[in-house]
Amino acid sequence: MKSILGYLHSNVTPGEAGNLFWVAVYVVLVFAGVSIGVIFMNWFERKVMAHMQVRIGPMRVGPHGLLQPIADALKLIIKEDLMPANADKVVFWFAPVCVVMTAFCTFIVVPFGRTHAITDMNIGVLFMLGVSSLGVLGVIMAGWASNSHYPLMGSLRSGAQMVSYEVAMCMSVVSAVMMTSMATGTGTLSMIGIVQAQMQQRTWFAFSFFPVGLVALSVFSIAMVAETNRAPFDLPEAESELVAGFLTEYSGFRWSLFFLAEYTGMMAVSSIATTLWLGGWLRPFPNLLGGRNWDLAFSLVPGLTFLALAAFCFFFYRRMPQIRSMRASAIGLAAFGCVLGLLGIIMLLPGVRERVQDIYWFISKVGFFMYLYVWGRTTFPRYRFDQLMTIGWKVLFPISLAVVILTALIGVRQELFALVWR
């Protein structure tokens, strides 16, 4: 009991503290949080896409379609569980499990804050990249086990694509990892260590060695879209060519597991990008706008955001037509606003706000990448397979190699300067 309460005052992640109770709590929290994130992303993507495409999107289930993803999930769960007669049953069963497991495992090391991670590993980045690339196994298994042509072609495409874009991705990660050694002389692969290095160097890595960091971030963010099989690199599930790619034979709950894994994977790679280049949980301008007053001002932002969202809900509650059939959804919207407002007030309390703001900044940065995903999906046509490979190997890979070499050269030059000057 003492160790359980004692952890609340510690400054490390539960994994590092060796506190199994809090590890369990964090695992549950992260799992639930990511699942809610997926549900929200589903709604958010449909709404944003709809508004970009002169539509209004889901409107019927819940106020402004807020409950639509839940209704969809229910529908998928109660659907008949179909398995093709000639499928390899065991592999067919295991493929979605494999994909979901690997996608969720990556979140073990994602630092939502200094203490808000399940654990910290000294090889954190490597672990994330390694585990997330295991997901391709599940995709290939799905394509193979379906015993059908479209899934097979989809999974082969996906295998080739994921493997080739990983190279460019890892190279740009190397450049960020090299930057961590600048101030202290010792580099780190730990996710928390990387963010702390950015704090010490008083910059986000996206802006260090200008424009090398930005180029690395761009290469990574293109490669991560390809890695997660999203438009314009969504060839494995290219609807117009391969019907649904490796998902063709899947339906119901198994299909929803793939869906879950896809969005979890998107969030995982977005959090790598956030951690490596956008300062992880650090608030904007920690050094430029330092001092007690600025600290206080920035720590109020999460609570105020929630209050603003609540006000938004109430505004639309007032605008809803006052008719009987809309009453349930109007009350729902008001209740949602109340919950958001309550959360906002809790987040404004001293003691809570300092601990919560890390999570808030991290999630907003990840959210920025998620918005880019949606934006890209509505904007671009799809690449052809050979063009995809050309971009991966002939464009992104050389650029990322050059970035690594440039980072090394600039880093060595700066160290030398520091040495000579001293």
Binding site: Q53, L235, E239, R377, R382
Partner: protein, 383 residues
Amino acid sequence: MSDNQFYESFEELQLTRNDLDSKELVLNMGPQHPSTHGVLRVILKLDGEKVNGLECVIGYLHRGIEKVAESRTWAQFAPFVDRLDYTAAVANNFGYCLAVEKLLGLEIPKRAQYLRVILTELARIASHQVWLGTHVLDIGAVTPLFYAFRDRETILNVFEKYCGARLTTHSFRIGGCRWDAYEGFSREVLGICDDLGPRIHEYANLITGNRIWLQRTKNVGYISAADCLSYGITGPVLRASGVGLDLRKAQPYSSYEDFEFDIPTGANCDTFDRYMVRIEEMRQSIRIIRQAVEGLPEGPIIARVPKVIKPPVGEVYVSTEAPKGELGYFLVSDGTAQPYRMRVRPPSFINLQALEKMAKGGLVADVVAIIGTLDIVLGEVDR
């Protein structure tokens, strides 16, 4: 192991390896497939992603329309042709009416001719908008589809107001038009023309300069002008290969000679040029509509036609420039109230022949792009 044994087992090994290597993947695309534009079935022979050969299987939408004609009167049959190319039903009706009128030797009032031109050109724009949306969707961009369909809606609204139907309109009759322009018709159509100019510019802005779009369409689905002519390909596909053949100019019908418009042509014979040609055709259609609405003459809208149409014995072939290409009707009359034989020359069917030539040696994704760029409608292919 003796040498002999070794060689035998080696040969066996070779044989199995060759077996593995030479296996072609036969992929059945359609008739239920998101991007075969209806119920086209394509059997692809693939070597990995490369297309070694393909075969079209058609007939899933065959309704025997040509045979149906023989048991209907001339006027009764007119609504059936709306079901050929249902994205531009008016254009089908137009061709059929012209053919019967030629058989009868009728002179059509000027006002009816102009009305027909206006509606047909509107249908051409609507048809090209459907093509644009679905073609771009096949290549992976979702958004232009919604923009194109939003604007097509305004055109369909005009049809709805004019004749009550939106898709299979049956708005023309043998001898002219059934209805006169409704109150405010000119204002509404001119308003659409004003709106559509910037809208077409908007589509082009979204798509034309996009690098991915250029990579996906440039040099994809090449077909030379000579090949086009030998296959009998017409319409935008032919014009994109550099042959400026447009029946509206080559053999003007229904007062097309009164209007000033250009025939856009391409030079590279690829998917991108066909895209550019169709986009430009929409602009030219707007020009024609504007001139026709502004110069819409007063007068009767239908010629004097007997109640029971019994054309003299004879045969006639009339072709018009439908949105997809040359749409021809061959009619044989034996002097009775029913056609003796009716034959359609559907542009989609004839253009579809080129699919194999264009897609061979390309990739799977190109097949989809080429089906889109040929702009086929299965109602017309199968009839």
